[in-house]
Every structure is written in structure tokens, then in C-alpha cells.
Symmetry: C2
Subunit: 151 residues, 2 copies
């Protein structure tokens, strides 16, 4: 983690690599309508445009994101962060989205098609992405804002 702060272009690349990482997890923060924060680590997939989460349809995360239509997602580690604010694009039942299911299973290390109980895919579209490691990278941490890549 030594060295000069990364360029914007390098941070964008590192963000895309984090989104495409196989067998990784993302910290998913969501809030209830009443203003209670929830947080849980989940496996994920990435279509190139949308983050795919697979959650039990009655899970707190599913209820919160379905209601708020947004989530905040932290990829990487606390000292090598890719922070993504995303809008909910769509919610689909597992059985109704074979293409999404294939992409998810190719990247994540489990397959919700084999899970007990009803699962849904939450499809989340990033609108802000921030990338930083240590304090010297706080400046320039925005690589996407208002759904536009800045670098």
C-alpha cells in the first residue's frame, strides 16, 4: 500500500477489478423506512453495469433495499476501499432470471438456485464510486458521480 496516491484512471481500473472479483464479498449497508441501519456481508456478481446480490426474499436487506431503492456497498478492505452508492434497478425472482443466475454463479462461490427457500436477485446500478486506501487518497477519491465516470 506504499507509494504515491493512485491516479484517477488507476482507481477506476481498481474499482472495476473489485466489482469483477471472483468469490469475494461486499459489505451491504441498507436502511429501513424507520431509519434503522442494517449491514451484512454478501457474495455478489457484476454484469459490467449492475451489481447482483442474491438474498432471501424476506431478509432485512431485501426489505430495506426494496423500500429505499438504494444501498451503499463497500468492496475490498477497510484500507483498500471501493465504496459504491447504488440505486435499485430491479428485483427479480431467481427462477425468472436464468441469465443473471448464470452470471452470478460464475462469479460468486455459491448458487442461490440450489438454496432452500425463495431467493431474489437485487440488481443495483452504481451512481457514485469512491476509491481510496489511506488518508493521502481522500483527495481524488471520486471516480463516478451522478452516474458519470469522472476519470
Amino acid at each position: 500500500m506504499d507509494g504515491a496516491p493512485r491516479s484517477g484512471a488507476r482507481r477506476r481500473l481498481d474499482a472495476l477489478n473489485a466489482l469483477g472479483a471472483r468469490h469475494a464479498d461486499v459489505w451491504v449497508a441498507s436502511a429501513s423506512a424507520g431509519g434503522r441501519a442494517h449491514l451484512v456481508p454478501l457474495s455478489f456478481g457484476w454484469t459490467g453495469e449492475l451489481v447482483i446480490l442474491a438474498v432471501a426474499s424476506d431478509a432485512v436487506t431485501a426489505r430495506n433495499i426494496s423500500s429505499a431503492r438504494e444501498a451503499r456497498l463497500a468492496f475490498g478492505t477497510s484500507r483498500d476501499v471501493v465504496m459504491v452508492d447504488a440505486w435499485l434497478d430491479d428485483t427479480v425472482a431467481i427462477a425468472d432470471a436464468p441469465g443473471i443466475a448464470e452470471r452470478y454463479a460464475a462469479q460468486a462461490d455459491w448458487d442461490p438456485r440450489e438454496a432452500d427457500g425463495p431467493y431474489v436477485f437485487l440488481l443495483l446500478r452504481p451512481h457514485r464510486i469512491q476509491v481510496w486506501r489511506e488518508a493521502d487518497e481522500i483527495a481524488g477519491r471520486n471516480v463516478m458521480r451522478e452516474s458519470e465516470w469522472l476519470v
Copy 2:
């Protein structure tokens, strides 16, 4: 991470070790009154009863937790999780809490007394603690509930 699921006593010990870890970070999830989730990694201290966070007094995390009086805190990694739900016990200005400041600086890898701008300590009291690594540890993950140790 191989082996049998840990005992409750072992998980309690691992939770206390995560809370006492030096130079570590915690993922802090908070929610605004309007139901927007926030998430950020922060350094922390642990008094043995209270998690100490140091935040700029105008930061989103400070505003959210001051309003909601609670936060959800993830220590460790996504596959070695110590998840803590905590109530806000107190908020104190850095200069008014020399004992807290000493404890924080002894554990964290920075010292908010040397920071620019007004910082506050948020003192958070755990009321639920869940400890798990993989799916085989979901059962038995609660080691504290309603502020009582279960193991």
C-alpha cells in the same frame, strides 16, 4: 478457517479480541432519519464496555448516530465477522474526555487530538453481538442479546 464450528465461549473470546485489536478498523453503518444508509470504515477503541469512535462533528456518521442513537458495526472480515449492534451511550468533545482520548490513542493508529477541525467521540454500547465465519456457524452466532452475554 477450517474445522468444526466454534463453541460459544470461543466466539465470545474472539469477539472481545476483535474489539480490543490494535490499529484495526470497523465498518460503521448508520442511517439518517430519512432512511438513507451510510457506511464508512473507521478506527476505533474499546474500553471493555464501550466502543469509541472519533469522527468530525459534522460528518454524516456523527449526524446519523446522534439522531438515531444507534449503529451497526462490523469488526473483522467478511468471512470472519463480529457484528455488533450498539446504542449510543454518549457523545463527548475530544477536549472534554482526556481519559477516553488516551484509551483511543493507545489502540487506534491515529490521534484525533492532533486532527484539524472539531472531532467528537461517540461512545457506543453493544447490545447484540453475532460471531460467525462461514455458513456452518450461522447457528449459534448470537453471543450477546438484549445486552446480556449468552455464553
